[in-house]
Symmetry: D2
Subunit: 319 residues, 4 copies
């Protein structure tokens, strides 16, 4: 299937279930894909930060993407993260993703090295020229430690390099300016980039982002409650903003599951991804809630806290 | 007049007009207050960051606050920033502000020094105990380089230390969590902090923030177009979110006036405050658009750009 | 007394003893000055960060400076910190310091506001023009959150604005480049800025800094062991670098006193300044080891740890 | 050859010459290795940040390491960087490096993801257990955006996980504390980690670092002037600190070659590595001075500036 433009709706960053040896549990992953598609999501983002892509070997990445594409089975498009330090390495991932059937690619700015706006522009242009798939820029300063300049994104939208932006920068004001400047968001006829899709990763303010004009959302906790985000999205599309806000508030409550254990005990990746995976295990969707080494695993007490959050949200643990 | 609780609506951070010698131009400041009150605002925030408080001597600060209180003349409440490095210095400003008739105080965490959550809590409690006025915490990491922890704000809300929060952190997700956790935002009857007022300083996403449940907004560019923000606020109060979003988009367009000159030429304070003051001068509200030394003044070319932005927004320059 | 140029040697940032009410204990402060001058130091830096200047009211600052100047009694020069957010406020402190007999001023870049290299240059030039005392730039990014650009410092050295630099940036490589570029450090005859004094605040690498060509050091823990730093300085001046390194290592051991309590309990200002003041109290030099509100006070256990460090260094507590 | 412990001396991070298609130029790389060994260096660090490791595909990395090991031909030990986001990926690089004949491995903390001290400790322990080669921790916050805690390094030194530290943190004070705490640096008999090697990447303060007790240096610009660093190291070993400082100053002068072009034009990686490679090309050691895509190439004007710096240092360009 090809990607309709612009991509709109709920596109969760699919978690990667692992077994107790740290290997990809493809059966659990296929069940998770069904859980998400059954929940009504509009696309799947495999190999994003939430998938623990940074922890997966190339072989594991291939296993994940193949499993997600097969399980999705054309029901929704699959975007593939191609996360690596610089262009040559990212191009290799992009070619692999294309061969495995991804419908679009999601790439960050170069990281580890010290980069520059001109270099980032060349990076995205080379990626687009190297692999013939729609390309999304992934703006995630917390991971790559640089922010995509709005003017750069606009230029790459207008010249057709980018099909969209996945914004996890947390800079909602800057994103609003970008959306206004891209223009023509409603009719998409006059605007300079009518096919350009803006997706937010700010999962706690999705109602607000949709009101501001984003096309969709990539919510990590959407792994746990995809239907909740779909209800939120549909309410917003229908212009029922009060309902959208109410749905968002319930998801904010659910999100409190990430506050497991004191910060002294583990990193934010371990606690956030660990709680999502614990929830998926409690819901019977995946076999094992472990996060990839060397992340710290949740204590039994933390898992119990996750279970309480699920119950408070009306999502019943089966284990 | 005393402050109704919780404070709601549009509360602009009042600019401080200066003459060409860098002294406070009280006649212009009084006209600016009239411009804002005539625009329908619900309160005034004097001596905030936008007022260039960090550039004003104690004597100048007193002149500013006295002028704003007198010009407001009880029509709307006046909040006074009490900005200084640590508690003892802030208490002195707080006492001065109380004597000059401020109806509430707005204080940041300690800065310049390396501080800590426990110390910040003691700081706000001592301030509240020292001067009997409602106290707002001013969360502005870009200036003080620490972020108020949500748990700290909640504790200080619940024990009555704080009457509200002025959030300029840009962390909209964290703010959403705080609002949900404060609870009872609509009826204000069950919540733990029913009198607590949350004001956002994120002036480009006010529709979104109101949808999320904030009580009001402190927009710097509200100096230029107070009526625009009041229309946005009223649309949101009426539940007309599409209209609120449209009003916000127009204000985002207007805000582009801050992009004056290349970044190589001046700091972000100079360019943002300089453009606001240039706009106020062009509109005939203040005499002189200079910002305080050592900020760099706008070039004539930049002022012309500001004038174009005003005209595009239907605000006609008179000079 | 006037300041000889360039200033060289050990110039401790004098702690400010407070009584249990938080007021300046002038008798203790005078004893501390004697302790330092008796230890052989070459100058005194009053109202620096280590003096808790950010916590002192203007009246307290005046008391401190007056006490230090009187106690020094012309035996060594007194530099005064003039720490405030921007130029107009700093000029007021500078005038007060001049009136109280300071021999030189030490000022940071503007803080709280967002500034710019051109604005920082104008700031220092205005300060120099406003008060006729030698002016040192205080490069302390941890407090003001901007770094003085080496090119800026060089320009201000060469045009006579600055008499010196107090470098607390921790960027030893950048400082080395600056020293090499200033040139003529030995004979001071050919160099472009022969009178310019470079003082480091990096108290754990003073031997290294002197080898690199700095003129002197401003060590916080020099309050506790001024004679140790004087021995280190004299060894370096004599070219006995092995001895200098040995003296430095002993001071590094002593410095471990700042590791009091877990970071969870207090800020770095509280722990570092609290341990210095506890040491001074244990040595019988000051009456009370309290730091200014809202800093957290050291526990008895932490004070015992400080005492052990003193004994290990051969400095005998008398209390 | 096996690595003697502790490793001491000058260990340059070998640049990776590329041809105009961006492929590894093995002939130039072999000449560069000869240039370095002939210059007297004590080891080679292949696949470090200066080698543009973040820009090289796995196949290119293998080509580089194989070429360096072969060219070194047992004359000096070869350390291999194994740079990737997290443990599983780094283990793959480590196995490849071992198979290609590296004598030691150099690994950073996890990056891209948000990590934690406990996770970093597990990461290094797993690496050490997975591949039987001496392991160096690479502390480079500018690239990985976390700092290795001194207590963590000490623990991993004492339990034998780490054979050494390559410190590019720029925190010279913290490094000094670590060295003092590791103890027994001279005789290496009493200390808790007598075999532990501390190498600094702070190439502008090597004299100072050697005085402080580091074992060696990994200087990027040592590619250009290895003999200069060897003279500096030998002077320090001989206790002739004045000579060491003089050698360092000349290298500081040479280092000014990195100031090519305004910052507006390229990233710091492009300018620093570009100038080193331009110098190597001018000296006739490598064929082509290009840096890896998407780094910006130096202009002819910038190359001319590099040539002037070479001449000023007595290094004669042959092109």
């Amino acid at each position: 299937m090809s990607l309709s433009a612009p991509l709109r709706g709920v596109v969760p960053p699919v978690c990667t279930p692992l077994d107790s040896h740290g290997e990809v549990d493809t059966a659990s992953l296929a069940r998770l894909v069904d859980h998400l598609v059954d929940g009504g999501v509009h696309g799947l983002f495999a190999l994003g930060s939430t998938s623990e892509v940074a922890y997966l070997t190339d072989e594991q990445r291939a296993t994940v993407l193949e499993t997600v594409v097969n399980a999705a089975d054309g029901r929704v498009p699959v975007l593939a993260g191609v996360i690596d330090t610089t262009t040559a390495r990212v191009v290799e991932h992009a070619r692999a993703a294309a061969a495995l059937g991804a419908q679009a690619l999601v790439a960050t700015a170069p990281f580890y090295t010290r980069t520059h706006e001109k270099e980032i522009a060349a990076h995205f242009r080379r990626l687009r020229a190297s692999v013939d798939l729609p390309l999304f820029a992934y703006d995630i300063p917390v991971a790559v430690h640089s922010k995509l300049a709005p003017g750069l994104v606009r230029a790459l939208a207008e010249d057709g390099t980018l099909a969209g932006l996945k914004d996890s920068s947390g800079d909602e004001g800057g994103l609003r300016r970008l959306i206004v400047e891209l223009g023509g968001r409603d009719g998409r006829t006059q605007g300079p980039a009518p096919q350009f899709s803006v997706l937010t990763g700010s999962e706690l303010t999705v109602d607000a982002a949709l009101l501001a004009g984003v096309d969709g959302v990539v919510p990590g906790i959407g792994n746990v409650d995809p239907a909740g985000y779909v209800r939120l999205y549909e309410a917003a599309r229908a212009g029922d903003w009060a309902l959208a806000a109410k749905e968002q508030e319930q998801l904010v409550d659910l999100f409190a599951m990430v506050d497991v254990g004191p910060e002294a005990d583990m990193g934010r990746s371990s606690s956030a991804l660990g709680s999502f995976k614990a929830a998926l295990q409690l819901l019977g969707i995946i076999e094992c809630g472990d996060t990839a080494f060397p992340q710290i695993q949740l204590s039994a007490e933390s898992v119990a806290l996750v279970a309480r959050r699920l119950r408070a949200a009306g999502l019943s643990p089966v284990r």
